[in-house]
């Protein structure tokens, strides 16, 4: 089994390489460069800068030198944040994004799962319709809208009341500053998890083995918790894998709206500034997260379903 996962990790290496390759050349295709800033730079300075960052070397040479550095764990210098390397920026931003992401994920599972499952257990009742309807809304409204609404509500309308919340900024991760962004981040995930778990629980309740469990005279609770639940959780886990990778590597929208110094915001800044190395760095970290998350999903499958064999 462990050799299976070791192999999966190895297969991740070429995947990661493809991401690097694709991303590197795609970035260079985009018009503009890292030094066309607000204030025009004198041509001599620009030439100096380009030479220092090897931007005038042939592209393939730049690529291989980047790759070489990468193998040594060096993401290179940031073009825009001149005193920092990309590694340093990621080391600063990633913990912030992960903390927010984990909190949001935790909340989403804690709320979404019971909502979806109880809706399935009371199918076609008012409660079920409410959960289905609200989760639909939660899925279709984009985070930049919920973000703005919450900022408006808690930052503006409720100003000078006890419910006022900071509508942005990080303040070194003060609890009050986290509430709104984590909420905005969690809402669509609550909706997705509720929706998926409701559907899969309804499906599980129709299974023949659930009927067998009922025919044994087991109490309803036992039938649900012992026999139906594990099967119903499979699709939720499938969803949570990539979703976790996504949420942990920082939401660009949420971090931008709330001015949170996570790697999602660095990514947006990097893309706007053509900060090639920064964008590459964040993308590679994100891709690595996705690969690892999928492997973890596979491991959880093995726990939920004894039929899963790793070979």
């Amino acid at each position: 089994m462990w050799s299976y996962f070791a192999r999966r990790l190895l297969i991740g290496v070429p995947t990661l390489f493809a991401v690097v390759l694709f991303c590197f050349f795609l970035m260079r295709l985009a018009p503009g460069g890292p030094f066309d800033g607000e204030a025009p730079v004198p041509p001599e300075v620009l030439a100096n800068l380009r030479a220092r960052y090897h931007l005038d070397d042939p592209l393939w040479q730049q690529f291989f030198s980047y790759l070489g550095n990468l193998l040594r764990g060096d993401f290179g210098p940031s073009f825009k944040y001149k005193d920092f390397t990309v590694t340093e920026l990621i080391a600063q931003g990633l913990p912030v994004s992960i903390e927010n992401g984990l909190s949001a994920l935790f909340i989403a599972i804690l709320i979404g799962l019971p909502l979806g499952i109880t809706a399935a257990l009371s199918q076609n009742t008012a409660r079920d319709y409410a959960v289905s309807g609200l989760s639909m809304i939660g899925i279709v409204i984009p985070t930049f809208v919920t973000g703005q609404i919450l900022i408006l509500a808690f930052g503006v309308w409720l100003r000078c009341t006890p419910f006022q919340l900071p509508a942005g900024g990080w303040n070194d991760g003060a609890f009050a500053n986290r509430i709104l962004p984590v909420t905005v981040l969690a809402l669509p995930f609550i909706a997705y998890i509720a929706r998926i778990s409701r559907a899969s629980m309804i499906e599980a309740l129709r299974a023949n083995f659930v009927r067998t469990a009922r025919a044994k005279g087991l109490p309803y609770r036992t039938v649900i918790l012992r026999h139906a639940l594990k099967t119903a959780l499979m699709p939720v886990v499938t969803f949570l894998g990539p979703a976790t990778a996504f949420i942990l590597t920082g939401s660009m929208v949420v971090e931008t709206i709330f001015q949170i110094p996570g790697i999602g915001r660095y990514f947006v800044q990097g893309a706007l500034n053509r900060d090639y190395t920064l964008v590459m760095g964040v993308t590679i970290v994100g891709a690595a997260f996705v690969i690892i998350a999928n492997i973890i999903v596979d491991m959880i499958y093995g726990v939920l379903d004894p039929k899963v064999r790793y070979e």
Binding site: R206, N208, F209, G217, R226, L304, D305, P306
Partner: protein, 323 residues
């Protein structure tokens, strides 16, 4: 007094394209220590009759009529009452062993939980009892099988596990839905022998739902023949098999190959298809396929009434009985 007494049971399913009458006005009873065979084509309502009795109909199904088990009316009983009876005094062994076991639980746990629920046994005692029961239903190496997950067992083994599950608490009545279809003949013979033994020594009653008329002939005391959700003929096995009166029963018996048939004999089949339960034929449901149909058959429905020593729903026999 009958142990199980079903009166005028009707089961309807609501579906997108209308109401399906799976079971119509079925009355039957099972006495203590007796084995009732239920036969009929696929879709004739055999399983759903007893699903309804167990309170296990699918969400879109609705049952009316009366099902009494001992002193309890099952159709109106609440889940709590049902749960003290199901798996305990009244057990059902389901038709589809491949999907009837919980895939993520070891079979051992699925067996012991019944004993723990109804008998309050501790782990060790439940384990011993479950392994003993596996051995009784002819599961080889029961200790090893006890540790396995359902997907690690063959269809025949799963069928025996499902049967063991039904027998664990020593129920008064076991409803066995096709309990031996996936078994090879020698194991089948041993399992049927066990059923007979339980019947004779413990006084356990059985409902045996099957396509295999040979099994019914060997094991059942009485038999009910179902067609399109109704019982069309019922009586003792001896009488029905010796002298079937309903044309459908005659057809069914003629469909069964016999070992002493010369190899040149062609198997007979009943012409046509079972009817659409959403849109049953008028009169007798069987008349479009019946070789003996005459004037009243498409017009009126023949009631199930005594004809000789058996019950019978066919105008042909009603006339003979009258004349």
């Amino acid at each position: 007094m009958a142990l199980l007494d079903i009166q005028n049971l009707t089961v309807k399913f609501a579906t997108q394209d209308g109401e399906v009458s799976a079971v119509s006005d079925v009355s039957l009873h099972v006495n203590k220590g007796e084995c009732l065979g239920i036969v009929g084509e696929s879709g004739s309502g055999k399983s759903q009759t007893f699903m309804a009795a167990m309170g296990l109909l699918a969400g879109n199904g609705k049952a009316s009529g009366s099902v009494r088990f001992g002193d309890t009316e099952l159709l109106t009983a609440n889940e709590r009452t049902l749960n003290t009876i199901r798996g305990n005094k009244l057990a059902m062994v389901f038709q589809d062993p491949m999907t009837s076991l919980t895939p993520h639980m070891r079979v051992g746990r699925q067996l012991t939980e019944v004993l723990q629920r109804h008998r309050g046994l501790d782990n060790a005692a439940a384990r011993a009892a479950a392994i003993a029961m596996l051995a009784r239903v002819q599961v080889p190496e029961p200790e090893r099988r006890f540790q396995m997950y359902p997907h690690e067992l063959s269809g025949g083994l799963r069928q025996r596990v499902v049967l063991a599950m039904g027998l664990l608490c020593g129920p008064e009545l076991v409803i066995a839905d096709e309990p031996t279809t996936a078994l090879d003949v020698t194991v089948q013979a041993l399992v049927l022998e066990l059923i007979r033994e339980l019947k004779d020594t413990q006084g356990t009653s059985f409902v045996l739902i099957t396509h295999d008329l040979g099994v019914v002939a060997g094991l059942a005391d009485r038999v009910a023949v179902m067609y399109a959700g109704r019982i069309v003929e019922s009586g003792t096995v001896d009488e029905i098999f010796a002298a079937p009166k309903h044309p459908y029963t005659k057809g069914l018996l003629a469909c069964t190959p016999r070992l002493d048939d010369p190899p040149t004999v062609l198997l007979e089949t009943i012409p046509g298809q079972p009817p659409n339960l959403q849109n049953l034929p008028t009169g007798c449901s069987f008349h479009p396929r019946c070789v003996s149909a005459f004037e009243p058959c498409p017009v009126k429905r023949p009631l199930l009434v005594p004809a000789g020593n058996t019950l019978n729903a066919c105008f042909l026999n009603h006339m003979q009985a009258a004349s």
